[in-house]
Amino acid sequence: MNALILSAILGVVLMFSGILLKQKITIRYIAFLGVLLLLVVNVMEMCGTVLFKVNTHGMIYFDRFALLFNSIVFLSVFIYFILSAKDMEKVGVNYAEYFTLIFFILCGITLTSSFKSLLILFLGIEIISIPLYILTGSDKKNLKSNEASLKYFLLGAFSTGLMLMGIAMIYGARGTFDTTSINMFVEEKPSALMIAGMLLLLFSMSFKVSAAPFHFWTPDVYDGAPTVFTSFMATIVKAAVFIAFIRLFDEAFGVLQSQWQLFVAIIIVATLFIGNITAVFQQSVKRMLAYSSIAQAGFMLMAVYAMNTDAKEGLLLYAVAYSFATIGIFAVLIKMKDYTFDGFNGFAKHQPVLAATTALFLFSLAGIPLTAGFLSKFYMLKAVMMTGKNLWLVIFAVLMAAVSVYYYFRVIQAMYFKEGEAQSLEVSPAFKWALVALAVMTIILGVYPDILFYWLYF
């Protein structure tokens, strides 16, 4: 609750700071402090100190899972700010507004991670989506950015419509928005209305996490949006929607698992296949990362499919591992002059630290041991194995993981083994240190993930 209210207030504060303060650096520091403050108050709530007592009539409930996820989000955003906040200056003139929108998104994220009512879920998803439409189009003079924004908005509005319709149908079938009551409802056979509503929700959530076959907006939007914001929405926002996804299907539709499990399995297979195979053919690293984010979504969906303790722990770890790695790679990508694979040729010679950390993040995405990426994939596979059926799904997933090595390692090959003059912008020592810290965290989580799970249980 602390973070929810504070993030909304901070959004407003930053909006006004844009009018009152002329210095960009001051705005940036306010944003840094704001995220740190959010992190601190959120950890305080985990330790039992609640600053704001609001009666939500059971529509919002901050359990440990939600709080831990919020902390992860704030930490990731903090790192993201350190690495990329300076690059937002280049996007356009409305520097303070970008931060404002990001803080509003954070407010939405705290809602989606803690909803107990379908209304709050809808609210959270909308609070996340609308600022994202704006951020996507924030490079106003760029045609691609405008196109991406429009595409995103039209398709996003459509999926929101589907979601609302689904919620309405479920209300018709169950007479309540409360997730627990929906789940507890006793009936012999679920009504067609209920199933239809649930499937509509499944489809609209799949749209938001860019799962196939609802992924068509992703490459264009990620490619068209300014790279700094692509980094944000491909990682933190996506992870947040996943948390909402797993919460929704666990708490509201848990009893109906037999009804939706096959659908989810089909979506996983399609997502893994399309994401990985298409990524192989990309020439631009940015577009490759867009497809890779689809592919990674396929893996994360395995948590929804399995829906057990391993799955929930694993999804948290996956969210961290994937966000850290992708934020790191995007931060380096922003500094590159040429976004194609060839633009990375010989990068290791010019920027050894940047190249080494990027290689580590790519290892993490590919799922090589010692990195958090491996353990998170491992948890997903384990979760599905523990359900004791559909071994083919696991085998398919690892084959696709092997495909993913192909395009991730193309970047490593370009950086280390090919000759060339990779052109990159100047980077500050602070940037390098932040990257190294991120890399170290990736390794620590890959060797000892209990650091994270400790917070979940104690």
């Binding site: 290892f363 491996f374 491992f378 596979l381 194995m385 071994l391 092997a402 083994f417 000892y448």
Partner: protein
């Protein structure tokens, strides 16, 4: 403690090597580190033989049921010894080779040693998997950065091959984990798993594919000749001498004891495939002109024999495999040293462009002949002991086709002699050619490395008993497992 040191020493010295700028210093540092590890491994073999020194255990991920536990049995002692002997030899032999960016080269080499060592020691499936992959990453960098012209594509093929294999193995491990009574990754719990026939077959294939790719066994061998050819020779020595043994070791420690039934059931089929692969590789080796490819194909043939020997599943066959793993490692490193020297000094690997080296480099020729004879398993050499035992094992194996297997595998010995002797004739004897006319004999460091190898060949060939004693415990326990299975059948 010894087991932990064996991993930590190369790991830490390897990381340190990244920071040594001077090429000479880093070279000496790597040699020093490898000798230090060798000393530790010999200490473990001779002095600190007690269980408490050889195993190590500490908590790692209690919620998952994984712990960082290492243990040395006879086979892992033998293979760790091979690993620790191989490294100083490789470094001594390559003392005069210069590398671009030498610090990274030696650092990756030492890290690879740590990874391979971990595979031989781990007794926790998750730790095993970790090291299995970690041994691969340094190899990926070594081969792609310092290799030949087509190195990037070739190494990538190698990497993808191995990666697919290891991911399938991971599924196998997870499957077994789900079936363990106490949900643990420790090998002791894995040994307790009881599976039905079809489940065993599933796990068997999931894991065997990983091991078969690593060894490599026909028809999963296609990465091997290209990789051996394109990788820097120093790395090839480690790849072919030590790393391929990871696959055989996987059979011994992870596959046979866990899915004994399926290993028994599929034994016939896999022996057949392995022997077909032997004949196939030998025939191809006969037609090679490139020295590196010749040695590569000869290696496939030898590994095929190892695989067939493992699947005889009797004492003689498996004991033969144990000692042959060590011998093959030593012999092939010797061959590579010679090939490497020839390439560096004459500028070619093509046998058609070589000839008459015996006149110019008599010392090299003597070493080459001894090692080549060991490669075709002449009596008094180490390979004879191993191959003799394996053939004995195949003859006495449980399958009804044992005669055919023996004849076909025996054919490969003849083919092996044919291509090896052809190689010696074309390289060492005959007329001097343009490229070989101005060569000088090998220098001290190569003499030292090859001398050690020849001593090892002869010692293991004349008095193999200590090696056999070392591994007999493991072999006996494996044979017992198979005997229990076989007994009702043979009645």
């Amino acid at each position: 403690m010894i087991s932990l040191l064996l991993i930590l020493l190369p790991l830490l010295t390897g990381v340190a090597a990244f920071f040594i700028k001077n090429e000479k210093q880093v070279r000496s540092w790597a040699l020093f580190a490898s000798i230090l590890t060798l000393v530790v491994s010999i200490l473990g073999l001779l002095v600190y033989k007690d269980e408490k020194y050889l195993s190590y255990h500490c908590e790692w991920l209690p919620t998952l049921g994984a712990s960082f536990s290492l243990q040395m049995d006879g086979v892992s002692q033998l293979l760790c010894l091979l690993n620790t002997i191989a490294y100083p030899l490789v470094f001594i032999a390559g003392w005069k080779t210069t590398y671009k960016n030498a610090k990274n080269f030696f650092a990756w080499m030492l890290l690879a040693q740590a990874g391979i060592m971990g595979v031989f020691l781990a007794t926790d499936a998750l730790v095993f998997y970790f090291f299995w992959e970690l041994a691969l990453i340094p190899m990926y960098f070594l081969c792609s950065q310092w290799g030949g012209e087509k190195r990037i594509a070739v190494t990538f093929k190698f990497f993808i091959y191995t990666f697919i294999g290891s991911l399938l193995m991971l599924i196998g491990i997870l499957y077994l984990y789900g079936k363990t009574p106490d949900h643990s990754f420790s090998i002791a719990s894995f040994y307790k798993v009881s599976l039905s026939g079809s489940q065993q077959s599933l796990v068997f294939w999931l894991m065997f594919v990983a091991f078969a790719i690593k060894m490599p066994v026909f028809p999963l061998h296609t990465w091997q000749p290209d990789t051996y050819e394109q990788a820097p020779t120093t790395t090839t020595m480690i790849l072919s001498g030590v790393m391929v043994k990871m696959g055989v070791f996987g059979l011994i420690r992870w596959l046979f004891p866990i899915v004994t039934g399926a290993s028994f059931m599929w034994g016939d089929f896999i022996s057949l495939v392995a022997i077909i692969g032997m004949v196939y590789a030998s025939l191809i080796a006969l037609r090679q002109d490139d020295l590196k490819r010749l040695v590569a194909y000869s290696s496939i043939a030898h590994i095929g024999l190892l695989c067939a020997g493992m699947f005889t599943q009797n004492t003689s066959g498996m004991q033969g495999v144990m000692i042959q793993m060590f011998s093959h490692g030593i012999n092939i490193i010797g061959l590579w040293i010679v090939v490497d020297w020839i390439e560096r000094n004459t500028g070619t690997r093509k046998m058609s462009e070589l000839g008459g080296l015996a006149q110019k480099a008599p010392a090299l020729t003597i070493f080459l002949v001894i090692i080549a004879l060991a490669n075709i398993a002449l009596p008094l050499t180490n390979a004879f002991v191993g191959e003799f035992l394996i053939f004995n094992g195949i003859l006495g194996s449980f399958t009804q086709y044992y005669m055919w297997y023996t004849v076909l595998a025996g054919l490969c010995i003849i083919l092996g002699a044919a291509y090896t002797l052809r190689m010696i004739r074309m390289v060492a004897y005959g007329e001097l050619k343009e490229r070989t006319a101005n060569t000088v004999d090998i220098s001290f460091n190569e003499k030292l490395a090859l001398g050690i190898i020849v001593v090892l060949i002869l010692v293991a060939g004349i008095y193999p008993q200590p090696f056999l004693d070392l591994t007999s415990g493991v072999t006996d326990s494996l044979v017992n497992k198979f005997e229990i299975l076989r007994y009702p059948v043979s009645k």
